[in-house]
Subunit: 200 residues, 2 copies
Amino acid sequence: MKAHYQTQGFLIVLSGPSGVGKGTVCAALRKEMPELCYSVSATTRQPRAGEIDGVNYFFKTVEEFKEMLEREELIEWAQYVGNYYGTPRRFVEETLASGKDVLLEIDVQGAHQVKQRFPHGIFIFLLPPTLEDLKDRIIKRGTETKTTLAHRLNAAAEEFKQIHEYDYVVINDEVEKACDRIKSIIKAEHCRVDRLVMTE
Amino acid sequence: MKAHYQTQGFLIVLSGPSGVGKGTVCAALRKEMPELCYSVSATTRQPRAGEIDGVNYFFKTVEEFKEMLEREELIEWAQYVGNYYGTPRRFVEETLASGKDVLLEIDVQGAHQVKQRFPHGIFIFLLPPTLEDLKDRIIKRGTETKTTLAHRLNAAAEEFKQIHEYDYVVINDEVEKACDRIKSIIKAEHCRVDRLVMTE
């Protein structure tokens, strides 16, 4: 008898309201867990200075993106300010099959779509310690008018209601602590009884 | 709105076959996580040199132990080589209610009893990397005859079949690694979505 953990990877979906710090936590996590494979999104928006195709995004024309949609090559997608964004299915599926974990950082609507297709993924909701904190963070970004700030806070309040679709909630009080909690979640999930394989 | 994790503690049951290293892993874990409250067993066996009542065990007479049983003051119990051993309910319940996590290191039969009473506990099965490893460890203890060794290995094989009653399996390849996995499990469980409390 030999006991070992299953080598099939799993999908880790990090989501939460806009302004909660998903990007910062995700970047810290990728630094600390380089073995995690980060899913690169496809987008129709123009590359910004320094952005590399296939690293930051897969840059697509609107036509190419629509073709991907028709071929069901995206596991979630959305449109923001006239541009399309989506998660290519192929990378996710191939990476999981190769035994590696895939990290996806997406908004709440995207996470909801992914949940339909990957119900066994690990869904983590990143939460601000207080609504006041979220407000402060959005203001600090300095890109919001008063109207869009109110709109964002309302959207966040609506998104909190979807928390029951998630497996874990990580409070982003400090990036390091949040990152540490997510690392523990990933390690723990690898020890789940249904991931054990015993061979002769 | 203020988000925080629930303050109710939870019961962590560390179990596994005899000889797998439960005691060693448990001791290492208590050292690294002094905030874990360790449940002290009651026993009718005689104290050994240096053992302190209430620290190593609650030492009881057979009559006292039987009274505890009658009053349902034990959440699990067993008899080994003429002595009774059991886990007092009161300490477990009071510690959990005070918001602390309780660690219980017990055999597979005991864990099965606890599972009936605390279905929401976190059940961790400690597993040797191979059956050969388990054999080596039991032999190294040097307290077994060939007959009891065979008996123990058979018992272990039977106990492996109960693994599906557990939430997690931790392979005890190295004490430090096993300990680290259990720490991650405890941290991750604190982030479960049903442990989140949002107050106004």
